[in-house]
Symmetry: C5
Subunit: 361 residues, 5 copies
């Protein structure tokens, strides 16, 4: 989305071996944090040394390892071998222009997704990667900060069924939290569209035009982001991976429902934007008509009158009218009548009643 | 649809646990009413206390429990556990922006739908949820008031096959009544389009433009509402749920037929609207042509004449023409001939015959 | 299609029981006529009393019962029970806005279709319903008059294979006759398009614009009518109903071929219409350019000259030029040179060679 | 395609029995020619009497019977019974508006196709029908002349694998030759588009506009012709008819490849055409801007100056400026300054630098 | 893509036997080079005589034979028989307008692809053909020079898993390198779009318009090139050929992912281009409005004033106002008031505040 708010994408040299991790030096270093839980207990801990993970993996019903920052190849590689991640999936983690997708690597299920948020009217996106394993979920984020705290709280507070469920339900809960966070973003665009509608129907100016083009552009991109999210949630909801249990499927279907709703909202906003644009463009044509009418009325009334005045401004010796006693007043009268006739003709043609004033009753 | 006529949608905080019921304090409290019937008898009763439902459930061939108003979480939760409703379905009941859909939860079949009506030229929509169970249909509405009275009457009067049929037929009858109620809505738009057509072909003004944009907008939204209704009725008509009996399927297919008809009507009205818009826009161009022709004719005739007058208005000492006895009249004659020649040229170019007057014979 | 030529559609009250027959009092009363035939004999008879049908049904290889007029509920209901028609199919017979479709009700196969014809340049449509049974075809039309006489003649004259074939072949023959009758309708539009093309390329006026919009509108509606005809013929051509024998399938496929051809013709005419519209609209822009060029040339040449004349029309006491002996002629000369220079500039810019005259060689 | 170059299509009376052969009296009479061949020998002969065909059929590995001209019903009927052709296929042979298609009639495989060629810049099309049987290929053309001579030469000269292969390979070779002949047609349009591009970017006039519309129209129709060719070749390449041997399938797939290429070329030319049209239309708007700028500059500079001249052309008795000694020169000076100021303002606004001259570096 | 940078396509005479190799005399002669490798060793060698290939084929785990230049039919034919290539595949190698595709010929798998690169802002494309066999990959290029050196280096340096894998992995690595090389091409267009955006929002001129049309055209063509690449990679990723091993499939799926990303980038750039074009076109309309406003303001203010001046420039004998002592100054006053009133009216209408200056805050 808005390029300014994104991490730099280092250029992948074409022809690199698959599994090459192309990492930009400016990316933050990984900060790892574990939440391990089961029905009865929960433990959270920041991880300094990767070997500490061995205390959790396989010893708790569910271990969630979250990695913020992708700026260290060796740590990523170690995580890759600890969790038996496919080289291609690891490459995708650092390739920040993935479409949302699900890849089934048998021992792990890889999911890529885009997390959206609004910063001062600017969209910013962040790629999140999920690995679902037998008893863990491993997540990778570009930078610190996410919309997953409600899930963390539900784990801590034993809220809902999350503590009693497996890692597949945790995966669902995380994806659901990200999908839910799209709604406020779309609502912000809804608001902007309503403001724009007022401007377009009121007194549009050039900033209106710019904002119309910007919002159309953003909504087109939003739709492009949401389209693969719908596919991805659908793929999960109909997944046949043995890592996803039957009882989690209705939750994933619900998530897909929301993705479809989001896509439809984006489509409908985009159409509203197009419709406003068309209205704006037809306003320009109307305004041109009005401008031309003013010019035509003035010119059509006064040009012939000026011609008459020009006639009697000629210096011929022999111009009998000039010597008629009331010639001047007769000429003024003729001009007045002519002018009024022209005016009446325009009134008759309906040019004088400005369309602006006729409002819908 | 028109936002003014809808209940407020409370914002769901992203990351809520699935099954959270987000209820707006302004929503009406639930009012529950039961109709239980079989081939031989029928009983109707408002329900004050939920335990009264036990007198009906399983003791009558079909029990229809209708709930008007969603403003009380505890009642919804109690109904949820009495009827064994899935948490996600219950959440959908209060999430008022569902697309029309069918979810099969084995013991119950959940259907969401939008009921439309026109209030003083404004569309208003209301979400209706249906749960079909072994011997009941449970319906939830946002507010009092619906289009289901004809079904209630058929039950009371033993009209048609409804009293002898099961709850799946009741579900069909309710959905069919809602689908049927879309037809008058679409017919109202057909009427408006005809009025607009008269305006566009007659004397269009700016209100025409506004109304064109509004009707296009509404029809786009109507199509967006009808699209999932078609899917939903199709899903029911081809459902493999054991809650739907073979003999009800042709009725559901008929319902799907009507949904398809509605969608095609909406599409065709939308195209008519677009076509009127294009006609309107081409009228603006035509009118501009006419305005410019008036200006050009007047200016082209009089500007050269005024120039000639200007010549003989110059004050040079030695201007022989001025002293020619009939110089003035010769000058007037030349100007008249020139003016008429210009006029003839415009007649020849066909600019004088207003296109407005040439009508289709 | 053109609403004026259609029977009134009585409004169905929403929520009616399925199978309700909503009949407009203005509809003609049913007139029934039977043609029974086999390889060796044929018999035709108008039917006054429905019991007369028992002399034919099951006693002849094929009995075709044609009903013109739907204005009597009791007769329709009697036919319904005699021929064991499903309530929903009977309802569809009187619901005059069916899309063309096939419904398989096991004992009978219901087909709905729209018969088109042109009356004085106006399209009129009529819904025809077919029931195919074991040894009969039952057809319902809105009013007297159809395009099925060639089929009747083939039965009477033992032409082609119709007399030796079963009721499924009769169904094919009837549908084929209706599909064939679309071709002259489309050809009429082809002719109108050619006339319009001449007008658009020649001297378009406002009636051209109206006719362009009308023809585009009609062709859009034609396509909308033909689309389900294609589906319907396809459904028959691939039907697995036991009422349709193997040997009839190639004939139904041929019929589907024709429906596809018709749809493509309609599409191609619609595109031609759009293309003519675009050409017409670009003509308007071109004409505006021409108008503005005329205005600009005249104004640009004469406004500066008039200014010069104005200069020497000023009444300052001390204007030496006025007293130069040939001042007047010098001034005229300067103006001529200036005017010619302007003119030469416009010739140079190519504004003087009207684009109208450059024709394709 | 271009109607002038096609044989007349006699109107089929609606309701004709299937298998009716509607033949126009102006069509050429059939001229039949046989080529029979096997790996070792080849024989060619024009056929006067149909019984002569018995010397070839079944006695040679492959017999190709080509019929030029469809103007004799009895010969077509005799061929139909000799080769056991289905009535519907025979009807399609003379129905000259078939879409390209394949119909499998078990004993024979019927294929219809359109052969295209360019005559003096005009497209002409001819329908070719193929019947593939156990040991023969029977082809029907509208008129003498085709693009199949290279195939005849390959048979005569034992070039490639054709002499050793069966009739299915002959069918492939014939269809391939016709598909190949589309390429030069498309290339001719590519050339015309390039010429048009030069015109549009250079000095477009009204003939440019006509040619743009014509080429868009032709390319739309070409696409419409090629679309079913792709389907038809695909149907052959995946045919399960026992008349087509396994080893011929790769050749048919290659043919399908070419049809897809052709379709993509046509699409891409159509898009280029649309793009040129849009460019042309935006040129018109630009030119209008330029015209209006000229008018506005001239009028805005001289109208106020003329007003000033008009002031001092008034005949009031008491106008002190007129008597100032250098009044005239002061007035001229003021006008010059005012005119230059206006001019400078236009230069400042950038109206004076014609956009025409700024070229892409 | 850009035709100037491509090898000439010799015209195939329609009707040529399948397998005919149509070779342009200007094409470079084949230069052949072998790289044979296994886990432990690697050998590279240019091949002068085709028999030298026998030293490698079947004697090394993988042999990659690369042919640069297609200008010698006999060498191509010899390679065809050595590697048992199907005639049709060989024909495709020299037919330089293949869509990207995969053809499975059992013993070999043929893949065609387009390699893109940018030379001084111009796209150039080159067709590459791949044959995958049991123990070899045979590649054909139009000319010397490609983007495959990184793969050669990985083989030489034993980097990644390539040395230990089979020929199917080599095929993947080559296709992946070509797909990767599309990214820099697309990024170059992204840059150009950003420059264009600055121009369109800043001071657009006619070169802007040309560049907009060019970039839209290029992006349309890019999309057309990428579409079959997506299909082709998808076909490989889901191939059931026994030449592709299970373990290579995830790599091919990754390649397909990239093709999808590329297609989406191309689509999104194309939409940005369209959006810029629309913005540019609406700028033209706006500018026209501004021009017309200037003209109308000037003309509307001064034409009536000039008329008044004209009145008092008339030479009637009896014009009392002329003799009023302060008549001149009263007339000037009236004109000033009138002019200011007009001006005020324009200010009131908002015509004086140029829309250009109102920027988005
Ligand atoms: Mg990847
Ligand atoms: Mg983050
Ligand atoms: Mg909203
Ligand atoms: Mg809104
Ligand atoms: Mg929601
Ligand atoms: Mg638009
Ligand atoms: Mg326009
Ligand atoms: Mg939900
Ligand atoms: Mg309600
Ligand atoms: Mg209607
Ligand atoms: Mg209408
Ligand atoms: Mg209905
Ligand atoms: Mg439009
Ligand atoms: Mg029905
Ligand atoms: Mg009738
Ligand atoms: Mg025709
Ligand atoms: Mg035509
Ligand atoms: Mg036909
Ligand atoms: Mg249009
Ligand atoms: Mg046919
Ligand atoms: Mg021929
Ligand atoms: Mg080409
Ligand atoms: Mg080109
Ligand atoms: Mg080719
Ligand atoms: Mg257009
Ligand atoms: Mg090929
Ligand atoms: Mg190369
Ligand atoms: Mg980018
Ligand atoms: Mg951008
Ligand atoms: Mg990438
Ligand atoms: Mg456009």
């Amino acid at each position: 989305m808005s390029k300014k708010n994104r991490l730099p994408h280092p250029k992948r040299k074409p022809g690199l071996a698959p599994g090459s991790l192309v990492i930009d030096p400016s990316w933050p270093k990984p900060a790892i944090r574990v939440i391990a839980y089961g029905p009865d207990k929960v433990e959270e801990k920041p991880i300094g040394n990767l070997t500490e993970l061995n205390e959790y993996l396989g010893k708790w019903p569910v271990t969630w390892i979250n990695v913020n920052g992708l700026g260290d190849e060796s740590i990523l590689r170690q995580l890759g071998s600890m969790f038996d991640l496919h080289l291609l999936a690891l490459e995708d983690v650092v390739n920040l222009r993935q479409r949302s997708k699900v890849d089934d690597y048998e021992t792990t299920l890889y999911t890529a997704m885009r997390m959206l948020s609004l910063n001062e009217e600017r969209l910013s996106g962040e790629q999140v990667s999920f690995f679902l394993g037998k008893n863990f979920v491993l997540t990778f984020q570009e930078v610190e900060g996410d919309c997953l705290d409600p899930v963390r709280d539900r784990i801590r507070n034993h809220a809902g069924r999350i503590r009693g469920a497996g890692p597949d339900y945790l995966l669902y809960a995380l994806i659901d939290a990200i999908v839910d966070a799209y709604f406020p973003v779309l609502e912000a665009y809804d608001l902007r569209l309503e403001e724009l509608e007022d401007d377009v129907l009121g007194k549009p100016d050039n900033s209106t035009r710019n904002r119309l083009f910007n919002i159309k552009h953003d909504l087109t991109r939003l739709r492009r982001t949401l389209w693969p999210v719908r596919e991805m949630t659908g793929a999960l909801a109909h997944s046949e991976s043995r890592l996803i249990t039957e009882s989690t499927l209705p939750y994933l279907r619900d998530c897909q429902d929301h993705a479809v709703q989001l896509l439809e909202l984006a489509e409908s906003y985009r159409e509203t934007g197009s419709s406003l644009m068309d209205f704006y463009l037809s306003s320009i044509s109307n305004r041109m008509n009005e401008i031309m009418k003013v010019l035509t009325i003035i010119a059509t009334i006064f040009i012939p009158l000026t011609f008459i005045a020009g006639i009697y401004g000629m210096n011929f010796e022999n111009m009998p009218e000039l010597h008629v006693h009331n010639g001047y007043f007769i000429a003024l009268g003729v001009m007045t009548v002519l002018g009024l006739a022209m005016f009446a003709w325009f009134v008759h043609k309906g040019w004088l009643s400005s369309p602006r004033r006729r409002k819908d009753p």
